[in-house]
Amino acid sequence: MKRARFLLGSLSGIAVVANADHVFARALAAAALPGLPGTENRCLVLVNLQGGNDGLNCVVPHGNSDYYRLRPTLAIPQSQVLAIDAQLGFNPLMTSFKGMYDKGLVAVVQGVGYPNPDHSHFRSTEIWQTAAPDRYEHTGWIGRYFDESDLPESNLFNGVSLAPILPEVMVGSKIDVPAIASEAAYGLRIDRNPMQRDEYTALIHDERLPFTSPYLPHVMEIEDRAQRGSEELPKLIGGYTTNASYPATPLGRSLALAAQIIGSNIGTRVIYVQHGSFDTHVNQVAVQNRLLGEFSDAAKAFYDDLAAHGNDTRVLTMTFSEFGRRIEENGSHGTDHGEGSPLFLIGGGVKGGLYGSTPDLSATNMGNVRFTTDFRSVYATVLERWLGRPSAPVLDGTFEQLAIL
């Protein structure tokens, strides 16, 4: 598998801060943004439905006989579909989500994909995250947005990944994004021992080492950020209170933390969370229904939490998945890797409704849903109309915008 060595090349652009004392104060100074007008105060939350979410059992074409013919054991019975209209409806486990759709808070963009689709999880994930289907790009589209923006580099939390591994989408050359699995786990043990903490701070900046290593600058940078972040995060978000009740699922916990970070006004512009795996080659219905139910309930709790704090109109949530799945089911009551699939934009700033062309299940490309909306059109829309930045430098081209925002 090709895995880009992206971080090393970018390190020269990140200053290693040797003196930790004033950094806390700087982060706080950079943090206060409440009440700012326009796009400066907005936040984007990306939800990666990883593994390849089957679009046809998510936004179900219940008016299409081909769907029922090609999926004898997998098709969602018409009576169970949460109908949007005579043709389409949501998976039966998505009742909370359907409620949000009915209130106009959800835009469904159908048939999203890209030309010459790749069926590998890794390559297609990379394509969605780098927004570069035709080349091997080492930075993510959000990372490049950060590079182009004028966000303060001193803020440790311009972007936050609520996942243990930093996703490629957040990788840029200017802003380093912390990966925070949970608030409790984001604390250094030696923070409780002031003397060791001071020594640690000095020793991790030992710059005259008798060896070189391509990873050394990065290790030092991350040790420094780990220490500063662990010290600052609880102080920055500790004051947030909420009455929202989230489902006790990993996604529920991630979105609860996302709402807390957003509600604490620490200058965070983009948050990444992930959910899955949707890689349902076998016994798809049980697995995907459970995951979609978890997504639906967590998304609703998240929206309600944001709304209760007056943050619902300044937060846009967008889902994505590396591909949809084959139209025809396989012999294992599952589906194999496919192509186009729907994605969702959620929030008070969204013009709710159905967008894009409904998948044509007869005119297909080797049994796949052809893409009808380029995913970079969605990204361009989000960049221009939500984040308020020109999209061409980020996406290396101009893409038609959608009227969803």
Partner: protein, 476 residues
């Protein structure tokens, strides 16, 4: 700059402390200062010889009670299982699941302890490499603890054996058949998952084959099954597509074995594994000439690993500045390596949640691509988990009795040299020596007030942690 002509020729020098520790880390999980000293002055070739021709390791105890759900099914019998009500069946599934989760925790501890205690660390290092390369996750998709244990043993058996035969063995391994769905790949409805990953992730790399090759290969692999009641793999000719397949430029009525042979005959396959082995032992992103050199070795040795790995470990490039500390320790390497370096003979069960926070749970890779490694281990969250593990370990009870730390001289300058020498092979700057010495001496009076009641031995442990907190310790 790499000199391609000499890079893979034997290093003529003898091992000093740094190279001895480098070899022990790369060909295993490091060792105590005493083990490092034992290699100092040895010729590289002789040291490597001992590591590559490892002793029989049957003496290492097998894990106790690896859970096998088929024993439960056997107890009930097919008729008994059919007679269960839905509620009873759910209850049974829940019990089985709990037994599997418990069994996996003890299997993880067993393997970590085996890595630590084995007389053949290179065998475990290769097994760990294969586990990340030919990934399988337990419990998911019906992969039982016994199945992953058997797969682990297969990888261990081929640790320095033949790569092609290991791949062939894994293609018929029940855990792999279930994990990548080849157990449900039948002529009428081919499932391409295994066929695709076999080429993309395991042997050739992305873009080295066409979508047609994937489809044709999937046809060749049809017919393999796993009998759920016993967990055994078998071939069912009725479900196999015995028609003609066109695969990687050849055509015939290929089966899976033919597919493996055709793949391993591709020059790209040797280059693919050469780059992987260099990334494991030498450095990431090796130069194309170096990859070609190792690929030629693999081809010459018909994919036998022992001579290939032996050549790499004794080569000039292995003992070059570019290779020294050029890799990031994986969490398992950090954990086992720290125990091994400190000389603590058994890992504490608390390492399991610690490894989870660091991002590496054995037998549960994030996806079929395994752990991406390298800079992917370096997020602030994972670094916090790494540091907390190290700080927790030196303060644990377990450290008192067994480690050489108890024998560090009770004198700040001597103790400083002992710690930085043993833990970092002196890879620290003069100012770090000075700071550590001041810490040991309690020079900072305001800090001394914080250390109310602390004795020197406890301060040694604090200094040991601070030494391990230095950046060099994160590098392999």
């Amino acid at each position: 700059m790499l000199d391609a002509r000499t890079a893979l020729l034997p290093y003529e020098g003898t091992l000093d402390t740094r190279f001895a520790a480098h070899l022990l880390r790369r060909a295993g999980f490091g060792g105590t200062p005493e083990m490092v000293r034992a290699l100092v002055g040895a010729a590289a070739g002789n040291a490597v010889e001992q590591l590559v021709h490892f002793p029989e390791t049957t003496a290492v105890a097998a894990p106790e009670d690896v859970f096998d759900p088929s024993t439960v099914y056997e107890e009930y019998g097919p008729r008994g299982l059919r007679a269960l009500s839905d509620d009873q069946r759910r209850e049974l599934q829940k019990d089985i699941r709990q037994s599997e989760v418990r069994s996996m925790a003890s299997l993880r501890l067993w393997w970590l302890n085996r890595m630590l205690a084995t007389p053949a660390p290179l065998q475990e290092k290769m097994t760990l490499f294969f586990h990340g390369h030919f990934t399988t996750a337990a419990i998911e998709k019906g992969v039982s603890p016994l199945m992953v244990y058997n797969q682990n043993q297969l990888m261990r058996q081929y640790a320095l054996g033949n790569l092609r035969e290991l791949t062939r063995g894994l293609s018929k391994d029940p855990a792999m058949l279930l994990y990548l769905d080849n157990a449900t790949n039948v002529a009428e409805h081919p499932n391409e998952n295994w066929a695709r990953e076999l080429m993309e992730l395991f042997t050739l790399g992305v873009d080295r084959y066409t979508e047609d090759d994937v489809r044709e290969s999937a046809r060749a692999w049809t017919g393999w099954r796993v009998l759920r009641l016993t967990g055994a793999a078998y071939f069912e000719p009725r479900l196999h597509d015995d028609g003609t397949k066109a695969f990687l430029g050849r055509s015939g009525d290929f089966d899976g074995d033919d597919v493996v042979n055709i793949i391993f005959a591709q020059p790209q396959c040797a280059r693919f594994f050469a780059a992987k082995l260099l990334g494991l032992f030498v450095y990431d992103n090796p130069e194309p000439e170096l990859v070609d050199g190792v690929a030629a070795l693999l081809e010459k040795n018909e994919y036998e690993l022992a001579p290939t790995v032996s050549t790499i470990l004794r080569s000039n490039v292995f003992y070059s500045d570019r290779a020294y500390r050029a890799l990031v320790k994986s969490p398992v390497e950090l954990v086992v390596g720290t125990y091994a370096t400190l000389g603590v003979p058994q890992v504490d069960p608390s390492v399991l949640p610690a490894l989870r926070s660091m991002g590496q749970v054995l037998f549960a890779p994030p996806n079929v691509a395994g752990w991406p490694g390298g800079e992917n281990w370096l997020t602030s969250q994972m670094m916090i988990a790494r540091q907390n593990f190290l700080a927790g370990l030196v303060n644990a009870q377990i450290m008192g009795a067994s480690s050489w730390l108890g024998g560090v001289p009770m004198d700040p300058p001597d103790a400083t040299h002992a710690l930085i020498g043993a833990l970092l092979q002196d890879d620290a700057s003069p100012s770090s020596y000075a700071r550590l010495k001041a810490y040991l001496a309690g020079d900072d009076t305001s800090a001394l007030a914080m250390l109310n009641g602390e004795n020197f031995q406890e301060r040694i442990h604090g200094a040991a942690y601070l030494t391990m907190a230095m950046p060099a310790f994160q590098l392999e």
